[in-house]
């Protein structure tokens, strides 16, 4: 019997992108539904009543929420294809740690880049420091997962689709500061699972301008 998979998502969401990439890596067919976050549909409210947020994966009628939890679930259920987490417990722990770091630090700092007035220099500096730490973790490996695209790669790539937006908005460039990450991002974008899961840059930038208006920021 075929699995029924529905993804409740919102196309610019970095968290949604992680799930899209994971599903694509596993070669899974699913129904994608874009939610209107100003007018949340009944299915979203029913499937994630606690947080009322996307992404939500609905697998054979059962909902799973929180992007990292969803990606781990996908990896555990469809474990025979393209494993995202390594098999060794220590390396798994390191992958989970860095994915958590990305969600906690990078996400917060990314928001500070454009939401706080007068703190731009400081915010830029901290963001780049954060990226440098990640670049150190990548080292000379082709992917964070080593020879193969893995869990941390899935978690970080969505931020790179937004990085283009941040660089314009916050007037900085990471090319000089984190050249290895730029190379890594280009390598990841060559993968179909990644390129088909991330939105067009220009579309994202246009959305960002709209987002700024909603937040009352010039």
């Amino acid at each position: 019997m075929a699995d029924e998979i529905i993804l409740l998502d919102f196309w610019p969401s970095m968290f949604g992108m992680k799930v899209r990439i994971a599903l694509a890596e596993k070669g899974l067919k699913y129904e994608y539904r874009d939610e209107d976050l100003f007018n949340k549909g009944p299915l979203l409210l029913e499937m994630n009543p606690i947080h009322k947020k996307i992404p939500v994966l609905i697998h054979n009628g059962k909902p799973i929420c929180e992007s990292q939890i969803i990606v781990q679930y996908i990896d555990e259920v469809w474990k025979d294809k393209s494993p995202l987490l390594p098999s060794d417990p220590y390396h798994r722990a390191q992958a989970r740690f860095w994915a958590d770091y990305i969600d906690k630090k990078l996400h917060l700092l990314g928001q500070r880049l454009w939401r706080t007035k007068g703190e731009e220099q400081e915010a830029n500096k901290e963001y780049i420091e954060c990226l440098k730490l990640l670049e150190g973790e990548l080292g000379d490996k082709p992917y964070f997962g080593g020879e193969n695209f893995g869990f941390v790669d899935v978690n970080l790539m969505p931020y790179f689709s937004w990085l283009y937006v941040f660089e314009i908005a916050a007037n900085f460039s990471i090319e000089a500061e984190c050249p290895k990450l730029i190379t890594w991002a280009k390598r990841c974008m060559e993968k179909e699972s990644v390129s088909t899961s991330l939105p067009d840059r220009q579309k994202l930038y246009d959305f960002f301008l709209q987002l700024k208006k909603w937040h009352g920021i010039e």
Partner: protein, 227 residues
């Protein structure tokens, strides 16, 4: 050959306690290093440069940080007495509620209700009650969050079983009312009295003093800010 296991912790951190419980439940021998967060050791800074926080588990010289990451590592390395369920959906649920416990329950109780007073505290209490009610519902039909025996989610939420009465004593109000939360109250008692758990709570008098100081400091800061 015994592998060397070290745990960097503080005496009161609920995040550290999870790791103590997990290691003891699994029967893992380990060395404890108590840290002073106002004077962090070079080892702490070396083992967790990204966050500079505890707990940190160091296994055969290799460090792991972040309490839930450590718990999963312990569960995968020492396989007896499993903490997480086997089924992927059940595992996802345990992880979801553990995250909810830290992000919402702990935040709304400690950084909401506990450090506030008056109208602000009343408002924070509404949020805290909503969150606790969700945990109450999650316990329906179960003795522990893990089912018949203690599991990952019990360790994640376990701080409630001891910290709540301390916070209630210091702030002078009831947070988990037995009439409103019969299942949660029963779980708190069962968990707190369980073997291993009951022998590893931090000293109550020290906790009362610590949390009194925290509340005093936060209320004073709030009063100063509003002048």
């Amino acid at each position: 050959m015994a592998e060397e296991v070290k745990l960097f912790r503080t005496w009161s951190s609920p995040f550290s306690l999870r790791i103590v419980w997990a290691l003891k439940i699994k029967g893992v021998e380990y060395e404890t290093i108590f840290e002073d967060l106002y004077d962090k050791s070079p080892s702490l800074l070396q083992y967790n440069p990204a966050h500079k926080k505890i707990p940190i588990l160091v296994h055969s010289g290799k460090p792991i940080a972040e309490s839930y990451v450590i718990l999963e590592y312990i569960d995968e390395t020492w396989k007896e007495t499993p903490l997480l369920p086997e089924d992927p959906y059940e595992r996802a649920m345990a992880r979801f509620w553990a995250k909810f416990g830290d992000d919402k329950v702990l935040t709304s109780i400690v950084w909401g209700v506990f450090i506030k007073e008056g109208k602000e505290q009343e408002e924070a209490m509404v949020e805290a009650m909503k969150n606790l009610w969700l945990l109450e519902e999650e316990l329906r039909g179960k003795k522990f969050f893990g089912g018949e025996r203690i599991g990952f989610l019990d360790l994640a939420l376990g701080w409630l079983a001891n910290f709540i009465s301390i916070l209630e004593d210091v702030a002078g109000l009831k947070i988990v009312d037995e009439d409103k939360f019969p299942l949660l109250s029963a779980w708190m008692k069962d968990f707190a009295d369980s073997p291993i758990i009951k022998d590893n709570w931090p000293p109550r008098d020290k906790m009362i003093a610590k949390f009194q100081a925290l509340r005093d400091e936060k209320l004073a800061a709030a009063a100063a800010a509003s002048k």
